[in-house]
């Protein structure tokens, strides 16, 4: 490297990062501030226009929201849906993922890529087509109807992410264990699964959180009997004149997403994640 380029590099480094400052400021205003406004609303007892800050802060509406029966029943519905869907998805998808990653069978590649089929269609259009079938099966407005529709939504990444995890397991360790006399189940349980577990855990967590927030299927298939948290939130936005109820519910609703953010940051930051979307 010549002295010239070093000097150029130094000068470039010392120059303030105007682009970064501009983008950072713009994103703060557009992305962070709206969220702070919602959080502030949830902690304000009184906030009348045109005051810039709430006239009175407090937990009044947290207590009021948590005392509402509809909030609790929606929370129970959402949690049971997300748990049942995630459990079912884990039970049917992990063995399938293992098979796709390790076993050879007829039509393996075609079947593996067929899970992309759902991605080729606009989601709500497909939902309407499914709803038309559910109508004949009397699954509209039932718990299991919503379970089915949300279960299908988890298939793609509950198979694709674990397949990648199983493929990444060090085969030499498995072979060493087999040579030492371990049976296939023992090898799977003690060698394969522990290595694949962290990635599989992210997939399971994403499936739980994704299902918890799934709104469109729940709205189309579940209404009016099945009311999840996001569905309740829509009715709050449309019909609830007291703003704080919606604000508290938003902050409550957000908790699972923040948990997911902490646990899946590494997976999402990676370039493999972007490539999984075709990037």
């Amino acid at each position: 490297m010549s002295a010239d380029t070093v000097a150029v590099r130094r000068r470039a480094r010392r120059r303030p990062d105007w682009a970064g400052l501009g983008l950072g400021l713009a994103l703060t205003l557009v992305i962070l501030v709206p969220m702070l406004v919602v959080i502030t609303w949830s902690f304000s007892n009184v906030w009348r226009y045109p005051s810039i800050l709430p006239q009175q802060m407090g937990l009044k509406f947290w207590q009021a929201t948590l005392a509402r029966a509809d909030v609790w029943s929606a929370l129970v519905t959402s949690l049971s849906l997300a748990s049942v869907v995630t459990l079912l998805s884990t039970v049917i998808c992990l063995p399938a993922a293992y098979a796709f990653a390790r076993l050879k069978f007829w039509g393996r590649d075609v079947l593996f890529f067929s899970f992309l089929a759902g991605q080729a269609f606009p989601k709500f259009g497909l939902l309407v087509a499914i709803a038309a079938i559910f109508l004949q099966l009397n699954l509209i407005s039932t718990f299991w109807g919503v379970v089915l529709i949300q279960l299908v939504g988890t298939l793609l990444f509950m198979i694709w992410i674990p397949v990648a995890a199983f493929q990444a397991v060090d085969r030499r360790m498995e072979e060493a264990a087999r040579d030492a006399g371990a049976g296939p189940l023992r090898v799977f349980w003690s060698i394969t699964l522990p290595q694949a577990a962290p990635t599989i855990f992210s997939a399971v967590l994403l499936s739980f959180v994704g299902t918890f927030y799934e709104t469109e299927g729940a709205w189309l298939i579940g209404a009016p009997q099945i009311r999840t948290m996001p569905v309740l939130m829509i009715t709050f936005i449309n019909n609830q004149p007291v703003i704080q109820y919606g604000a508290v519910l938003s902050v409550l609703l957000w908790v699972p997403s923040l948990v997911a953010l902490v646990f899946t940051r590494r997976v999402i930051g990676s370039s493999t994640f972007a490539r999984g979307f075709g990037g």
Partner: protein, 286 residues
């Protein structure tokens, strides 16, 4: 020699086992993706009222002004949102590709943040900030300025919400595409005195086209039938296809017509869908 194992050699004999393990998810996929689409086509092409094959339902859609307005609004929203999304995300992705340091990671964290904000919370925040007497109005009022014309319940409501919602994935895919631009090429161009714009148009853009197409297909697929944001933030009439289909199905209790709308929407998206799936599959295979 006996130690050498063909990795999947053991599996070949277990042919039926593999199929058995994948059977349930494959069945679900067929039952709830392939079957509804085929059944939808058959139901709408052979309607109950007609004796056999008939385009009557499609005819009704394409001769109804309200339906056409909704379709037009949907196409407009898709176009405008994609353009704004690219205008916002390309600079972000370019910045993130070349910048290092704490400021760059701050920008990246914020750009990824909407991925962790469910659309419904976004809708609520949108109304609190840009709605009537929202934060923007409050601040303008404090500065002695006039209120804004709120985009809430206008065609711009869904556009703003959808752009916000789609920034993370768009930036991720574009940044990953920019990874394909080799540093030496850029440095070489800089050394011969290329200006940033020339650099962008001649060196970077040609290598970005494929990710831009992927992003556009993905966004169009998502936007064409977006439901939550248009339903909450958009105008009641005309409405985008997502809320329109939902209303036709649930409120008007006309599944046949809703199915027709869904089939038309899928027809509009089929090229984007095939292109998108092909790129994902190609990436996965590499």
């Amino acid at each position: 020699m006996t130690k050498v194992r063909v990795p999947s050699g053991a599996g070949e004999s277990r042919g039926p086992l593999g199929l058995l393990l994948v059977a349930v998810p494959v069945f679900l996929l067929g039952w709830m993706t392939v079957w509804p689409i085929l059944s939808g086509l058959v139901t709408t092409l052979f309607p109950k009222d007609a004796a056999g094959f008939s385009l009557e339902l499609y005819d009704r859609f394409f001769s109804d002004d309200y339906s056409l307005d909704n379709l037009r609004l949907t196409l407009w929203t898709c176009g405008v949102t994609s353009l704004i999304l690219l205008a916002v995300s390309v600079p972000l992705a370019l910045y993130l590709r070349f910048a290092r340091g704490p400021l760059a990671s701050y920008v990246q964290t914020l750009a990824m943040f909407p991925m962790f904000v469910p659309s419904i919370i976004l809708a609520f925040a949108f109304i609190r900030v840009l709605g009537p007497n929202g934060t923007v109005d409050t601040i303008l009022n404090a500065l002695g300025l006039a209120k804004i014309r709120s985009p809430y319940l206008t065609v711009w409501g869904p556009v703003i919400g959808l752009v916000w919602d789609n920034i993370p994935l768009t930036v991720l895919i574009l940044t990953s595409g920019l990874g394909a631009v080799p540093n030496p090429a850029i440095e070489a161009a800089r050394d011969v005195g290329a200006r940033p714009l020339t650099l962008f148009v001649h060196i970077i853009l040609p290598r970005m086209w494929s990710s831009i197409f992927v992003v556009i297909s993905l966004t169009i697929l998502g936007l064409f039938t977006a439901f939550t944001l248009p339903y909450v933030l958009g105008p009641a009439s005309p409405e985008m296809m997502g809320p329109f289909m939902q209303r036709t199905f649930s409120d008007l209790r006309n599944p046949e017509m809703a199915l027709t709308q869904a089939t038309i929407v899928m027809g509009f998206c089929i090229l984007f869908g095939l292109f998108y799936v092909r790129s994902v599959a190609r990436n996965r295979r590499d």
